[in-house]
């Protein structure tokens, strides 16, 4: 607290994971500053003190000096040992999840984060967590590499297809913290943002109960929620604006030109195929960037989405 | 006068044929040993030992390292060393993925 380089760091909202990092960050900066100023000072001083006075200046023959050279090899070496040790212990702390941590499942895909809770509640791009409790996020990706980063907690980890990775943190105040995707993942990499929303523990419980079991309501309403939860809206608008994929507005029974030159009418089968295997038929004028939803979404859900899509016009 | 120099050793035909035949025998040997079906670490160890012997023969005599400047041998050994380095460090990751945090 109150160290010279604190101004460089964002607010620390999870002291259990952030403190050791901040400490080391400051330590390296301060030590480096001292050595750096020493080098620059010596260099500038010599440049002035020994500036060339005439072309015939004589200089002494100084080839080396063992004492000095050993000093300036050993001191940095010792310093690096310290830095390694501190970094290692801080990192152990980041890897060692407390036993009582509350687990939440996170799936990254182009270009959203889908979050699943133990009771079936689902959110998109929002992680709701209780304050003062260690949280463990179990993460995977359904397409390419992404990386989960919360600057205010000093945690980051890559999110990898076919593998689970995790991070943990323990927020100590309510409010919101920014989540970034920090592994390059294509066109909208920089829009793959999300928020951690920290509640008082009671409020969190209420929220969780309210959302238990995922989407609710009529099939059409459920379809609407699914379109949001599955992150379709990152690429498909419902009001006709063109983003990355074709807009859903008026999609039903529309004519669709495909990249291979054929034209078809958009019906149930086409939509279903487009969701599960988007690479099979590419709409003309668009890139094949939609990731396959195969395995992430079931038939029932697809039907609901189709019901909903029919209603947008 | 040229052949006196270390770069210009002329191997005798007998030598070369000898090495060639040794390599043949080793090939037959490695196939036979593989057919025996030794238990797990030994089969690969055996196969690699034979392969290394063959490699040594080729490098030392066909490629003439035996008569050549030491520096060229050093290059070959160096290349192998860096290859081994690459593999072993990579294995440090791939073999220990699921391991818990190392404690020391």
């Amino acid at each position: 607290m109150g160290r010279l380089f604190d101004f460089m760091l964002p607010e620390n909202k999870s002291p259990l994971t952030a403190d050791s990092t901040d400490l080391l960050f400051n330590f390296i900066n301060e030590t480096s500053l001292v050595i750096f100023l020493g080098v620059i000072f010596a260099m500038t001083y010599f440049a002035i003190r020994y500036r060339r006075k005439s072309e015939d200046d004589k200089t002494p023959l100084i080839t080396h000096n063992n004492t000095l050279e050993i000093t300036w090899s050993v001191i940095p070496l010792l310093l690096t040992f310290v830095v390694f040790g501190l970094g290692y212990s801080g990192w152990l702390n980041l890897k060692t999840v407390p036993n009582d941590a509350y687990e939440i499942q996170v799936t990254g895909f182009k270009w959203s984060w889908n979050i699943n809770y133990e009771n079936g509640a689902q959110t998109i791009n929002e992680i709701h967590v209780p304050k003062g409790v260690p949280i463990k996020l179990v993460m995977t990706s359904s397409d390419v590499l992404h990386s989960f980063f919360v600057p205010e907690y000093r945690v980051k980890h890559d999110v990898i297809p076919n593998r689970y990775t995790y991070v943990w943190f323990q927020p100590e105040e309510t409010g919101e913290s920014q989540i970034f995707c920090t592994e390059y993942c294509g066109s909208s990499h920089s829009n793959m943002l999300a928020k951690v929303i920290v509640h008082e523990p009671e409020d969190f419980q209420t929220w969780l109960d309210e959302n238990a079991g995922g989407p609710t309501g009529s099939p059409i309403e459920q379809g609407q929620q699914l379109v949001t939860l599955q992150g379709c809206q990152a690429c498909h608008s419902v009001d006709g604006t063109e983003i990355i994929g074709p807009s859903f507005k008026g999609i039903w029974n529309r004519e669709r030109k495909l990249a291979d030159g054929n034209t078809i009418i958009i019906d149930e089968n086409y939509i279903r195929e487009s969701i599960l295997y988007p690479g099979e038929k590419i709409a003309e004028g668009y890139q094949n960037v939609m990731s396959p939803y195969e395995g992430r979404i079931n038939d029932e859900e697809i039907t609901k989405i189709i019901e909903y899509l029919k209603t947008i016009d | 006068m040229m052949s006196e120099h270390h770069g210009h050793h002329v191997a005798s035909a007998k030598q070369l044929w000898g090495i060639g035949i040794a390599l043949l025998i080793l090939t037959v040997l490695t196939v036979t040993v593989a057919g025996l079906g030794l238990p797990s670490p030994f089969d690969i160890l055996m196969a690699m030992t034979i392969a290394l012997t063959k490699a040594f023969l080729v490098a030392a005599f066909f490629m003439g390292l035996y008569w050549d400047t030491k520096f060229n041998s050093m290059l070959l050994i160096g290349a192998l060393a860096f290859f081994i380095l690459m593999v072993s460090i990579t294995l440090l990751d791939t073999l220990y993925r699921d391991d818990v945090v190392p404690s020391f």
């Binding site: 020994y50 060339r52 212990s89 801080g90 | 791939t94």
Partner: protein
């Protein structure tokens, strides 16, 4: 500091016993390598290392200007948090192209293939590199690789970042990625051939009398670099080949969807690309050593420490690649070891920095442009190096990885280090290469512009990076706006600086004053020739009886023992050579 002045006299040899005659370079050479063969065709087919060096220099400058121009476009786009003037996909292609070109087309060949090609044989007193035709071939391979990259642009381009991480790169269906991987593959061979050529040249073509302890530090640096080039670049080649196959055929080694492992790709990539950063910086170290002695008129402090630390850096550099993968999901054991080894690189680098500063002590320091760049180098590179240490620290890197902090770090080492060193070398050897002087006041002005512009561009990136601004972001959240805007302004100042350089260098070619053979009064062997040198570098095979940094001896006496007045092959020369090539060299044997 009193102990510093301890002197040693062992290096002094009395030249009188020798039957060597003084060799005096001409003030106004009539026949130089530039006038020797004329016409475009002669240039394009030349096997002269000097001309090839210049052709590389031209190509490197061209790509630098192009990639720098892209950088300006990037910075301009980042003026506002949302779209400023280009689309997201264009932006992504731009930073990929910027990074890939700067690394593969500019920095990797810059010092070795451009300046090194020109200077190395001269510093060895050789007539050419060992394989002149291979040298030319490597230039054309380089050009060929570049063409492929441009073909890639014509085929939808590529937007993977210069690191080409799978599965993004193997899944993308843009044909551009295939072309660019082919381009980089081909380019790798150019780099390998240069390295092979240099190693052989250094071993076999030293002039009589250049023993290992009289090798200029620039040669040591290039030697270390060549070793890395030969050992690391083939791994890049195979990686890139596997990547291309992954993309075309889906062979599945790196693609998790097919059962492969994306982290393995990262190992392969960084096995090359971390050593590659030392391919970029170590030749820079060589230049700094040369310039700092010349302009302090003083022997280098700690010759062996500097020479061997280059080799140490080259070696340790192979053991640390995993520090780019701390968040990637590699195993804990590997992570720990990589972090530990990473710091070790700092030690030999520190030794160099301290030795350079110590060289200044009691020197006769002349602040000409090359020297100014050396000071800038030490300033900027130290910052880059220290922030590298920051990134090597495990817990801190978790926070900083893939943020602008990393972007700032590598610009400080690559631009603040290598590129500044390149500028130092360019100005230092410019009179030798062209026979002309450049405009000193303008050069200093440009250097100051670059220094200021650079810091204004990249210092804010440290802060916003630590604040959490991720890299490769087309849009960003509002809180980072002031940092980005400062950075953008800085990049414009930088551009002005480079335009000034472009202006006065061209001007110098046309109207520059004659330089004379040795305008800096350097003791380096390359300066004991005409400027510009003639076709065979020296009209006589030099017999060297002094180290390259013997500033404690008067110039007259120094020159006296430098070269013999006869063709090598004459009996008398051989006697001289054998007498003085004490621990040397293959070349003196008959």
């Amino acid at each position: 500091m009193a102990s510093l002045s301890k002197t040693e006299n062992t290096a002094q040899i009395t030249p009188k016993k020798l039957k060597v005659k003084r060799f005096v370079p001409l003030e106004n050479p009539i026949n130089t390598y530039l006038t020797d063969e004329k016409g475009i065709w002669a240039w394009l087919t030349t096997v002269d290392h000097k001309k090839i060096g210049l052709m590389y220099l031209g190509a490197v400058a061209f790509f630098f200007a192009l990639a720098g121009f892209l950088a300006i476009a990037l910075r301009t786009e980042l003026w506002t948090p949302a779209k400023t003037f280009i689309e997201a996909d264009t932006y992504n292609q731009l930073f990929t192209l910027h990074g890939a070109m700067m690394v593969f087309f500019v920095l990797v060949p810059s010092i070795p293939a451009a300046l090194g090609n020109f200077i190395l044989p001269m510093q060895l007193g050789a007539k050419d590199v060992a394989f002149p035709r291979l040298n030319l071939a490597s230039f054309y391979i380089y050009a060929f690789g570049a063409i492929f990259t441009f073909l890639s642009l014509a085929n939808n381009g590529f937007d993977t970042g210069w690191t080409f991480y799978t599965p993004y790169s193997s899944d993308t269906n843009s044909a551009g990625i295939i072309w660019v991987t082919l381009g980089v593959f081909i380019l790798g061979f150019s780099s390998i051939l240069t390295g092979t050529n240099f190693i052989t040249t250094i071993h076999k073509l030293r002039a009589p009398g250049i023993s290992w302890d009289r090798l200029p530090l620039n040669v040591w640096a290039l030697y270390a670099t060549s070793i890395i080039q030969v050992l690391a670049t083939p791994v890049l080649a195979i990686t890139i080949l596997l990547l291309a196959m992954e993309n075309i055929l889906d062979i599945g080694i790196f693609d998790p969807a097919l059962g492969g492992d994306p982290v393995l790709y990262q190992h392969f990539f960084w096995f090359y690309s971390h050593p590659a950063v030392y391919i970029m910086i170590v030749p820079g170290f060589g230049i700094i050593s040369e310039v700092i002695t010349t302009f302090s008129k003083k022997t280098i402090f700690g010759y062996w420490a500097i020479a061997l630390s280059s080799l140490a850096i080259a070696f340790i550099g192979f053991l640390v690649w995993g520090h780019h993968m701390f968040t990637s999901g590699q195993s804990a054991v590997a992570t720990t070891i990589f972090s530990f080894l990473t710091f070790l690189v700092g030690i030999p680098t520190g030794i160099k920095i301290f030795n350079w500063v110590a060289t200044l002590y009691r020197g006769s320091i002349s602040m000409k442009t090359p020297m100014l760049y050396v000071f800038i180098f030490i300033f900027l590179f130290s910052i880059g190096g220290f922030t590298g240490i920051m990134l090597g620290a495990l817990s801190v890197d978790i926070h900083l990885h893939d943020t602008y902090y990393v972007v700032a770090h590598f610009h400080y080492v690559m631009m603040g280090g290598t590129l500044i060193a390149l500028l130092a070398g360019l100005h230092y050897w410019w009179p030798k290469m062209t026979g002309k002087m450049y405009n000193e006041p303008l050069a200093k002005t440009a250097a100051i512009f670059i220094f200021i512009g650079f810091n204004v561009t990249f210092l804010p990136q440290f802060i916003m990076g630590a604040q959490g601004m991720p890299r490769r972001y087309y849009n960003y959240i509002d809180q980072f706006t002031p940092f980005h805007q400062t950075s953008t302004i800085g990049s414009y100042i930088l551009a002005v600086g480079f335009l000034v350089i472009l202006f006065y260098l061209v001007h110098s070619l046309i109207k520059g004053q004659k330089a004379g053979p040795n305008p800096w009064n350097s003791r380096g062997l390359e300066w004991q020739s005409n400027s510009p040198p003639d076709f065979h570098n020296f009209s006589h095979t030099p017999v060297v009886i002094h180290g390259p940094y013997d500033y404690h001896q008067p110039m007259e006496e120094f020159q006296l023992g430098l070269a013999v007045d006869h063709e090598y092959g004459d009996e008398q020369d051989k006697v001289a050579a054998e007498a003085h090539a004490s621990s040397a060299t293959e070349t003196t044997e008959a």
